[in-house]
Amino acid sequence: MISARLTVNDEEREIAFWPSDTLLFVLRERLGLTGAKPGCLNGDCGACTVNVNGTAMKSCLMLAVEGMNQTIRTIEGLKDSPIQHAFIEHFAFQCGYCTPGFIMNINSLLKKHPNADDSTIKEFLSSNICRCTGYQEIEKAVKSLLKINREDKAGLPNDE
């Protein structure tokens, strides 16, 4: 067991965990942040995606110890963001299990590419699986958020 501090959603938290614990496990079982979901524990489905220094990361593919001295943001750290509104307005989820992962991936995408083209959107979003929608709804939600399509150019949380 090691005792360490992790910065998650703008809070510094001190917790004890094993070096072999994945970030996903620590977020869920030690910090009670269950927004990141286990879907495969194998880096395949993207349901556990969080942002680390503003970059999308599959938290099942990362050790918690690798998260030390990094800025970690989970879905719980996104409040009233345009992405969340867009997902609701465009019916971009059904069962909702993949949703936190998609939203965190999109959060990173829009930070890096505020006017992402189709191929960039595809490159990012094909990292996640949604089994319920036909993806067309998610596509519409994302495209509604591109800077060129938005009135307000309000910022998204910036962890870079």
Binding site: S20, F25, A56, M62
Partner: protein, 278 residues
Amino acid sequence: MLPYDFDYYLPKTVEEGVRLFQQLEREGKIPVYYSGGTEIITLGRLNLVETNAVIDIKAIGECKEFTIKDQQLIVGSALSLTAVEEKNVFPLLSKAASGVADHTARNKITVGGNICGQIFYREAVLPFLLTDSHVVIAGKNGLRQTPIHQLFKRNLKLQKGEFLVQLHTDRRFLRMPYVCVKRRQQWDTGYPLITVAVLKKEDETRIAISGLCPFPFRAFEMEKSIQQVGPLGDRIQEALRHVPQPVLDDVEGSSGYRVFVLEQMLQDLLRELEGNHP
């Protein structure tokens, strides 16, 4: 979730990394070098990787280097694939790397991790094989630099306790014409059925392939056939006679189908690179 525990080390220098490995081994531990760690985590959960001491090389400066020095592009082994793609100094490398796994996973997977992995495909090595790059290896006696062809025979032949620090590529190669195409069993996601990278160096056509066999390789023998004079179809048929064995025959595709796909791909790629050549 890993079923076992390990100690975690984060050395700051190459020397410290190497020393840690030796020390841990002396203590009876089973150390492994860790860079992106994705394979250690995913195979570890299936007990296919065993370790009780992880040495993370991400904090070692040399492993994160990405510069051009003395006409050489230096690529640190612990750089993530997406970091290399975004810099896009070496477009062929960007292209080959972008075929690995998916974008989010590539934020974690590193160049060195991909090249040194157990996975069959390891597409990130193809550009380095095509450009006769050099590898910089850290070991007991410090750093050594070796042509990749000497060390990469189906996989990177590292001695125990060694790790890949950098890859050096002559900058002249960076802008040479290339094509790199990944074909999958179906549509746009999944492992490669076949990935073919072709580089044109003046009159020379260089070919490297992943997914055909259980290892990526530079197709020297096939290149010779392609270099011959004659109709492209004949040269490809000749090249196919030099496909290394075994050809993969698995969930992604049968060996017969793989060869069919390879043939099609060679036709397309070579036609593209050779212009209007028959």
